[in-house]
């Protein structure tokens, strides 16, 4: 087995943490705004799960890096170009269908991903993933059911759900992108081979869209760049909000 470089491991744990953190931040924006109080609870629940794993990944990233940065230093004291999350998770909440589409596409990827990561040679990543698997199975059930409910609901909900899937779809490709960091970690049995997850993802999507009477979008646009800090313009506004306290009151204990 190849030796794993700390730089690679740091980058990997960081980007996984960022995916979870930013998704959690977006979900938190739904608080007290959902179509039903039960949905408020469900969305907060998903937010809690992903924020929980964000804490695990970021804490681990900080340990691996060894420069004394903890989860909060990593979450609150980096600027846009240092965030490695995929563009999908930073997409604005839009209407409820947009949020469900973002969540469903993420979950459909995330379940096989976390299952595979649970088998990682890295014990910390494996432990975080093992816990995440159960949570994500639940998230997927929720987002899948709502995709179906909205897709096969009223005319209006069908149109909105289809528009939402169309809007979010281009961003799924980045979920399967491997770079040199992940290739090396994958060879070492630490990182997940994302390409190998595509079939299962496509089956989940195909089944769900069929049941939801929705059409799989075909677009030639495959935006990437999130992994290397090239985010959307909305992302800076998200950070301005998320990081406000640590930026305005540096060096405090909260």
């Amino acid at each position: 087995m190849t030796t794993v470089s700390n730089d690679d491991l740091f980058a990997y744990a960081l980007r996984l943490g960022d995916d979870s953190l930013i998704l959690g931040q977006r979900l938190g924006e739904w608080c007290a705004k959902s179509p039903e109080m039960e949905l408020d609870i469900a969305l907060m629940n998903t937010a809690l799960d992903v924020l929980g794993r964000a804490r695990g990944f970021l804490t681990y990233a900080g340990q691996v890096e060894g420069n004394g940065r903890d989860e909060d230093a990593l979450a609150f004291l980096r600027d846009v170009e240092a965030f490695g999350n995929v563009l999908l998770v930073e997409q604005p909440n839009g209407n409820f269908a947009d949020t469900i589409a973002r969540q469903f596409l993420f979950d459909a990827f995330d379940l096989p991903f976390m299952e595979a990561l649970a088998a990682s040679a890295d014990e910390t990543l494996s432990a975080i993933a093992a816990k995440a698997v159960k949570e994500t199975a639940y998230h997927l059930r929720f987002s899948r059911e709502w995709t179906i409910r909205l897709g096969d609901g009223t005319e209006e909900s069908h149109a909105r759900m289809q528009a939402a899937v169309n809007e979010m779809w281009p961003y799924v490709h980045e979920l399967f992108e491997m770079d040199a960091v992940e290739e090396r970690l994958c060879a070492a049995g630490v990182a997940v081979d994302r390409a190998a997850l595509r079939d299962r993802f496509e089956r989940t999507v195909a089944d769900t869209l069929a049941e939801a009477t929705l059409t799989r979008p075909e677009t030639s646009w495959r935006p990437v760049g999130g992994r290397h800090g090239r985010h959307t313009e909305q992302f800076g506004h998200l950070l301005a909000e998320m990081q406000w306290m640590q930026r305005a009151y540096p060096g405090c204990t909260w």
Partner: protein, 320 residues
């Protein structure tokens, strides 16, 4: 139902006997209409308060200063939504419908705690809400754990446990601020200055001005008077403020050895009445946010119903 010809309803006497002997009234038991209505009003107000209370705290989820605090805040707000639903269910055991109750809230016919019409302006407010607002709520709710209506009493027992946890978390936030930098401590003091009097108002008008209280006490819906509860809150909060090193913004506050309680100044009841009338800093905003959530989400609820109907029709067809 009372029969005018036959004198007092014997069921009413039985009901009152149960109440007097600390028994619980259950949904299927007979109860006076006024008791039912009072309970529905009180429980639904309590539910509305939980739901509206999500807004001032939710305002800081995006800006919580650490991930640990962010997670705790999301969990807390989620608990509040849960409490709201739990309480609406308790009210439904009395024959009220949740949709009607929510409509009454949004139309402005129903009330909720005036405290949630104040804005959260700094992170310290999240601590202060936990400490004072949840603290006041617990004092109210602990008393209600012995309320005469069974489902409400049981809801209170469950809710009290979670609220205590929330209160501790809130207080901890303030401990961190007060042990932190001068700026943090100033933030905590400024927050206390804004929330102290509104927190005292949470116990309702003084007993002299609380016309419904006597009947509620007789029915054991209420177990302690507004002023008794308020005194309990002040007595509990003063040493907590002292531990934090914060000054309660009341020049008349002082220990009264004779009474064995703290004396405190006159609550600004004019402000209370204004907020109650709808003229607090955030009344309009809170209602507008609730209305917007309901209206923006209408298509989602319609879709869920339509889908359920389609499913049912398909199931029927395949069964046939």
């Amino acid at each position: 139902m009372k029969d005018a010809l036959s004198g007092p309803d014997p069921r009413e006497a039985a009901f009152q006997a149960t109440v007097d002997s600390e028994g619980k009234i259950e949904p299927k038991d007979w109860m006076p209409e006024a008791y039912r209505k009072t309970l529905i009003r009180q429980i639904s107000q309590h539910a509305h308060s939980e739901i509206i209370g999500m807004q001032p705290e939710g305002n800081w989820i995006g800006r919580a200063p650490t991930l640990r605090r962010k997670v705790a805040l999301v969990a807390k707000v989620q608990d509040e939504a849960g409490h709201g639903l739990y309480l609406y269910s308790a009210a439904e055991t009395l024959g009220a419908s949740r949709d009607d109750m929510v409509d009454a809230l949004i139309d402005g016919r129903a009330k909720y705690s005036t405290i949630f019409n104040y804005p959260t302006l700094t992170w310290a407010d999240i601590g202060t809400i936990g400490w004072l607002v949840d603290g006041a709520a617990i004092i109210n709710q602990v008393a209600l754990c012995r309320t005469s209506y069974g489902p409400y009493a049981r809801a209170m027992v469950r809710i009290c446990k979670e609220e205590s946890f929330h209160q501790r978390q809130g207080y901890e936030i303030l401990v961190d601020l007060c042990q932190g930098t001068a700026e943090q401590k100033r933030m905590a003091q400024e927050s206390l200055n804004r929330w102290w009097w509104p927190a005292l108002m949470m116990f309702g008008p003084s007993d002299d001005n609380s016309p419904n209280s006597a009947q509620s006490m007789a029915w054991k819906i209420k177990r302690l008077s507004n002023d008794e509860l308020r005194q309990r809150f002040v007595d509990q909060s003063v040493p907590q403020a002292e531990y934090l090193g914060l000054t309660i913004p009341d020049p008349d506050l002082k220990w009264n050895a004779e009474r064995g309680h703290y004396d405190f100044g006159e609550v600004p009841w004019d402000e209370f009445m204004e907020v109650l009338k709808g003229n607090g800093p955030c009344n309009r905003q809170r209602m507008e946010a609730r209305r917007k959530a309901r209206d923006d989400g209408a298509w989602v609820r319609e879709a869920a119903l339509a889908h359920a109907a389609k499913r049912a029709a398909r199931a029927e067809k395949s069964a046939a």
